[in-house]
């Protein structure tokens, strides 16, 4: 019998189902800024699980499911009651509820242990036991026969069922969920009962958490609820793509984490396999970190680069304007723009590449450069005119401000500052304002 089919396939499938469910639900939790609700619910399912176990004396999935989900829901409800009555923020309310629920669970567990051997321990609840999920059809039955499929591990069946139910519920209620997540007041005004939508979301989350606890444990499921949607959030501003990307990250974390924990240590390092659930959580964290750093648009690196490009453009424009003023002659203008040496070098190179200045030991403006420099200086002096005439500043106050504002030239910005400027308009320091570009 192939160990790949017996052990690894059901484990990976279960983890993937759980990850996909969590990613879909977690996306809405993230948008509602209720990500910690998953945290609270997952800590709180513990007493429900133990109670179900004590009552049925077995790890019957259905009983566990009912117990865990109702405990999670009760905890979420209690947190809401506390938030209203204690007038605390939601974080504090959850911070009160979930440790207490968890503590109740631990004490109940010890109580159950004291009455006899228990097939459930805190480690299993915390870390999950993917290795328990085994698909072992009878030897004479083929894998895909009725008897083979009947031997599918119940954890996998439950996880798949929760995935299907969650997808169906989200699909059916997509409009309501979206509206309630983005604009609760409007949803209310439109008669949508956002409170009930929210409660339904929590109920689904509780189901997902319970179905996940066998696979990844009650704490690591938080990683699957939060990290993939958060990573997806870095990539897109649209809801549907975000759900899809989140599900992709979730399933990738599950598969990659399982491989890294199960096969890589033995094959590469020669050590026994590691905790797969921990590795899945770690992978989701690595994906999130990667998304935060490298996502196009919103990632930290992309933002840094955009700011660098802006700094270089400003330094470039300042360079052209400085050369223009030097050609003009006259008394020096203070203050002069200051840029770090590296930005200055990049700006000089940019100006050279665009053909705005001649390359050489002492750069001078080309005709293209002079045209652009004229536009910049025109913008500068129109801003100065505006600041003196309209904003009531003194002429000696406006140069520094205009140094920043001159770079704002989008559209006809400069020309709207002073409507229909005469050709011989002077700036507040009695310098001529360059005429607008001819081709406009």
């Amino acid at each position: 019998m192939s160990p790949l089919l017996t052990i690894d396939l059901p484990a990976v499938l279960t983890a993937s189902c759980v990850a996909a469910t969590c990613a879909v639900l977690g996306t809405f939790l993230l948008l509602r800024r209720a990500s910690l609700l998953g945290d609270a619910v997952s800590h709180s399912v513990m007493p429900g699980l133990v109670a179900a176990f004590i009552l049925t004396q077995s790890r019957d999935p259905l009983a566990m499911f009912v117990g865990g989900a109702s405990a999670g829901l009760a905890a979420a409800l209690l947190a809401e009651v506390i938030r209203r009555h204690a007038r605390t923020d939601a974080g504090t309310a959850m911070g009160v509820v979930f440790p207490v629920a968890f503590a109740v669970g631990i004490v109940m567990l010890r109580y159950a242990e004291s009455r006899g051997p228990v097939d459930l321990d805190a480690d299993c609840v915390l870390f999950g036991e993917l290795s328990r999920i085994i698909w072992a059809p009878p030897p004479d039955a083929p894998w895909l026969s009725a008897r083979g499929l009947a031997a599918l591990p119940r954890e996998l069946v439950v996880a798949a069922a929760v995935l299907v139910v969650s997808l169906a519920a989200v699909g059916l209620m997509f409009k309501e969920l979206t509206l309630a997540s983005f604009d609760e007041s409007y949803a209310h005004a439109a008669g949508l009962r956002p409170g009930w939508v929210h409660a339904g979301l929590i109920a689904l989350t509780a189901c997902a958490v319970v179905s996940a606890f066998e696979a990844v444990g009650s704490i690591l499921v938080i990683a699957l609820l939060i990290c993939p949607p958060a990573a997806a959030r870095m990539f897109t501003d649209r809801l549907r793509p975000q759900i899809a990307i989140a599900a992709g990250f979730g399933v990738a974390s599950a598969v990659l984490g399982y491989i890294l924990a199960g096969f890589a240590p033995g094959a590469i390092l020669g050590i026994p396999s590691l905790s797969p659930s921990g590795m899945i959580a770690a992978c989701s964290g690595v994906f999130l970190a990667g998304a935060i750093l490298a996502a196009p648009g919103h990632g930290l690196i992309a933002r840094r680069l955009r700011r660098l490009a802006l700094a270089v453009r400003i330094a470039h424009e300042d360079l052209l304007a400085t050369l223009y003023r030097a050609n003009e002659g006259g008394p020096p203008h203070a203050p002069t723009p200051v840029h770090p040496p590296m930005i200055r070098r990049l700006a000089l190179r940019r100006a050279g590449n665009l053909g705005h200045v001649t390359t050489g030991s002492s750069p001078s403006l080309t005709s293209a450069g002079a045209a652009l420099a004229g536009e910049i200086v025109r913008s500068h002096r129109l801003w100065e005119r505006f600041l003196v005439d309209r904003a009531g500043l003194r002429p000696d106050q406006v140069h520094a401000a205009a140094l920043d504002l001159e770079h704002v030239r989008r559209g006809a910005g400069g020309d709207r500052l002073v409507p229909d400027p005469p050709d011989d308009l002077m700036d507040p320091h009695d310098r001529p304002i360059p005429s607008p570009p001819q081709n406009r």
């Binding site: 910690l36 204690a86 504090t92 009160v96 440790p99 503590a103 631990i106 938080i222 964290g285």
Partner: protein, 405 residues
């Protein structure tokens, strides 16, 4: 086996007494430090911090095991815990720097991912030949059976340090907790004070690991201040009440776990704190659920009896039609109505009150008008219950004082 009383009076042996002192000091100091974290709405940062200590504990174990084989040096474990705990808090700040992900997501991501890394490292340790990893799982759920007097001294010293720092910085911390902007404008180093609070939270969390474990340690920081908040609106009083609640929870948990060795002390301490919180939630004088239910019922009764007064005066019958018999009872008890064979009739005082109510309603309608043909605004019916004659006089007086709005 010692009784609860013996334990609480330090008559149950040296080790039990040590554990008791350690837990009480921990409870008090965590509550005092946690109060500022709760007021700054940073409470769950401590949760991220607590969970983020797991990889550090495992690393500390592996490093010290590499040097002398046992790997159970408390110092190594706690140093490792501090290191990754701080990294976890910095990671939360880093995620917040994106401005695209909110604090809840940042905290949840950090706590679960760090815990996952810790789980991976733990699974490696459990497979190490000869390593005794038993002490590590105690740090997850907490266990004081292994607490020695050195550990208790560490907790006591760190706790006293934390309380002393809070006492020294009390004025500044209070300012930042309630009006951050004002503090900034006044030139106080707000970021530095926040850092001080986070440092104290870190200290308390790390020394608290041994007693209550890294999952539950956040409860010591959050629950006592949140429970104290029910009883007072003054920070000084709140700190004292929180400290008492924290200390009492620590003592209760330590005592019960000494009686029944099987129950983990961390969970017991949290349960004690939770029970005290629940008592406040239900029974606190102004913010408790009972008080608020009573308040609502009183208001309903007041409204119902007002409606009944107007009805007895010859007005329309109660639009709500509720609580009629209770309202009759209340009117009789307050001498506003009396039973006669012909039914309930108004007394002189009742008549006066009913006329006042009618006047209040008419005053409101005069003031704020009706749209023609649509009758009095619904607000008139609601506002008569709170518009006392004195209030009407004052409102009239002020509006006569000047025409300007």
């Amino acid at each position: 086996m010692s009784s609860l009383m013996d334990i609480l009076l330090f008559r149950a042996g040296h080790n039990t007494a040590v554990v008791l002192v350690g837990c009480v000091v921990l409870g008090v100091s965590a509550a005092v430090v946690g109060a500022f974290a709760v007021l700054r709405k940073r409470a769950l940062m401590a949760d991220a911090l607590g969970h983020a200590t797991l990889p550090g504990i495992a690393l500390g174990f592996m490093i010290s095991a590499a040097f002398n084989g046992t790997g159970r040096e408390t110092a190594a474990l706690l140093l490792g815990a501090t290191a990754t705990g701080v990294v976890g808090v910095l990671a939360v700040q880093g995620i917040l720097a994106t401005r695209r992900l909110r604090e809840d997501a940042a905290i949840g991501a950090v706590l679960s991912v760090f815990f996952g890394v810790g789980a991976v490292l733990l699974s490696r340790i459990q497979a190490l030949p000869g390593a005794d990893a038993g002490g590590l799982t105690h740090l997850i759920l907490g266990q004081t059976a292994s607490m020695r007097s050195g550990d208790a001294w560490l907790i006591a010293g760190a706790g006293a340090f934390a309380v002393a720092v809070v006492a020294l910085l009390y004025k500044e911390l209070r300012l930042v907790a309630f009006d951050q902007e004002f503090a900034r404008v006044q030139g106080w180093p707000v970021a530095g004070l926040d850092l001080a609070v986070m440092t104290l939270v870190t200290v308390v969390t790390v020394v608290g690991l041994q007693a209550v474990g890294l999952i539950l340690v956040v409860a010591l920081l959050i629950i006592p201040p949140a429970a104290a908040r029910f009883w007072t609106d003054r920070l000084g009083v709140m700190l004292v009440v929180a400290g008492v609640i924290g200390g009492a929870s620590g003592a209760g948990g330590a005592a019960v776990s000494a009686v029944s060795r099987n129950l983990p002390i961390g969970a017991l301490i949290v349960l004690f704190a939770g029970a005290i919180f629940l008592a406040g939630l239900l029974a606190a004088p102004r913010r408790g659920i009972v008080a608020s239910v009573v308040r609502t019922a009183r208001l309903r009764l007041l409204v119902a009896s007002h409606h009944r007064l107007r009805e007895l005066l010859g007005g329309p019958s109660d639009p709500l039609g509720a609580h009629e018999r209770l309202a009759d009872l209340a009117l009789r008890r307050r001498g506003l109505a009396a039973s006669t064979p012909a039914g309930l009739v108004l007394t002189e005082a009742g008549r006066r009150r009913a006329l006042e109510l009618e006047h209040a309603e008419r005053w409101w309608i005069d003031r704020f008008g009706t749209t023609p043909g649509s009758g009095p605004p619904p607000s008139a019916d609601a506002v008569e219950h709170i518009l006392s004659p004195g209030l009407i006089d004052r409102l009239d007086g002020r509006s006569r004082g000047g025409d300007r709005p």
